[in-house]
């Protein structure tokens, strides 16, 4: 009898463990497949595949280094420009006590909020909530995240027009 009760409790525990999802997953579950929203999901499996592609891209190694610990990237955007309230909605759905606010970058109307969840001194989840600029979005990066190598990506990327800057030095 004791065993049966214990077994039942264990099963319930196991089910609850299965049912547990991070808040971000819940947000994505809510909006994925819905009309007017676009979700992009890149899984750890895909990251594994990516690490084996032959690329002559000069940024490829930088990218590989930055994504070595990443297990998934999820992006959620609302289609169409009229999405000023969407960012607010996203923020209200995220449990703020679970995430540390890293920084807020305000750029004219757009506000970008950086949230991070830390586990054992490592960033395991990194969220970017863009709101107010008409292109509200949620970007979630999960895994063992190396912020430093991510921040290096932008400097290594060939942004249009950026290459002209180097030529400035050569001018008399």
């Amino acid at each position: 009898m004791k065993r049966i009760v214990l077994g039942g409790m264990l099963i319930i525990f196991a089910l609850s463990a299965f049912g547990q999802k991070s808040a971000v997953d819940k947000v994505f579950d809510k909006y994925s497949g819905k009309d007017g929203y676009t979700t992009v999901y890149i899984s750890s499996y895909m990251f594994n595949l990516m690490s084996s592609i032959d690329s002559d891209d000069p940024d490829y190694n930088e990218f590989k280094k930055a994504t070595s610990g990443i297990s998934s990237i999820k992006i959620l955007t609302q289609d169409g420009g009229n999405s000023t309230a969407f960012g607010e909605e996203l923020l209200s759905m995220l449990p703020r006590d679970e995430y540390k606010e890293m920084m807020v970058v305000k750029d004219q109307e757009e506000e970008v909020l950086f949230l991070a969840r830390e586990e054992g001194g490592k960033i395991t989840e990194f969220l970017l909530v863009v709101s107010g600029g008409g292109e509200d979005a949620l970007i979630a990066i999960q895994g063992d995240i190396d912020m430093e190598s991510i921040s290096k990506i932008a400097s290594g990327l060939d942004m249009p027009g950026l290459e002209n800057l180097d030529e400035l030095d050569d001018l008399p």
Binding site: R3, G7, F28, V40, Y41, I42, M50, F114
Partner: protein, 190 residues
């Protein structure tokens, strides 16, 4: 009185179960006499224990039913233990399943979302482009944030430089005070 030979013969037949009641009574009678040869002492003891009291063995009422009930009980106990072992086995199996479920659940926690969310890209090259674009965006936003901090550093650096020139003014004013003293000496001369 029976001869020793007779008794031996009777005893042999008794042990074979061939004696009649009359013959058994004769053996008994012989053993109850005082003089019994040494070789018959074990047999005498046996007869004494068998026929002492000499009363008819009292069979308890419903003995057969009690015996049958006892057998039934034993059988039931056996099936119950078997049932219990089936229970405990299934309990063990359930426990194992739970452990396995927890184990796989724990390690596939990230994958459980995959059931709801399918990989957007099937081609790693496309996924790479998108991931790169996203990370570049994140990175750019990160850098604008930290870039602003650099400006703050520059401001504080710029602010500390003029302070250094203030110390030069201090130095200058000390020399001025020297001049003042010279002036005072001159005044006293006059």
């Amino acid at each position: 009185m029976e001869s020793i030979k007779d008794i031996r013969n009777l005893l042999d037949r008794f042990y074979l179960g061939e004696t009649t009641l009359e013959e058994e009574r004769r053996i008994q009678e012989y053993f109850s006499s005082a003089k019994v040869p040494e070789e018959f002492i074990p047999d005498r003891d046996l007869f004494r224990s068998l026929y002492s009291g000499n009363e008819a063995i009292h069979v308890p009422v419903n003995l057969d039913q009690k015996i049958l009930a006892g057998i039934d009980r034993e059988e039931r106990k056996i099936t119950r233990t078997r049932r219990i072992s089936v229970f405990s086995l299934s309990g063990l199996a359930a426990g194992l399943l739970v452990v396995i479920a927890l184990y796989t659940g724990y390690f596939n926690n990230g994958n459980s979302a995959r059931l709801a969310m399918q990989d957007t890209y099937e081609n790693p090259q496309d996924a790479y482009e998108e991931a790169k674009r996203t990370l570049a965006y994140v990175s750019a936003k990160l850098n604008t944030g930290t870039g602003e901090l650099k400006h703050v550093q520059q401001v504080s650096k710029a602010a500390s430089d003029p302070l250094k020139s203030l110390s030069k003014i201090n130095k200058g004013s000390r020399e001025l005070s020297l001049l003042g003293q010279i002036q005072r000496v001159n005044d006293m001369k006059q």
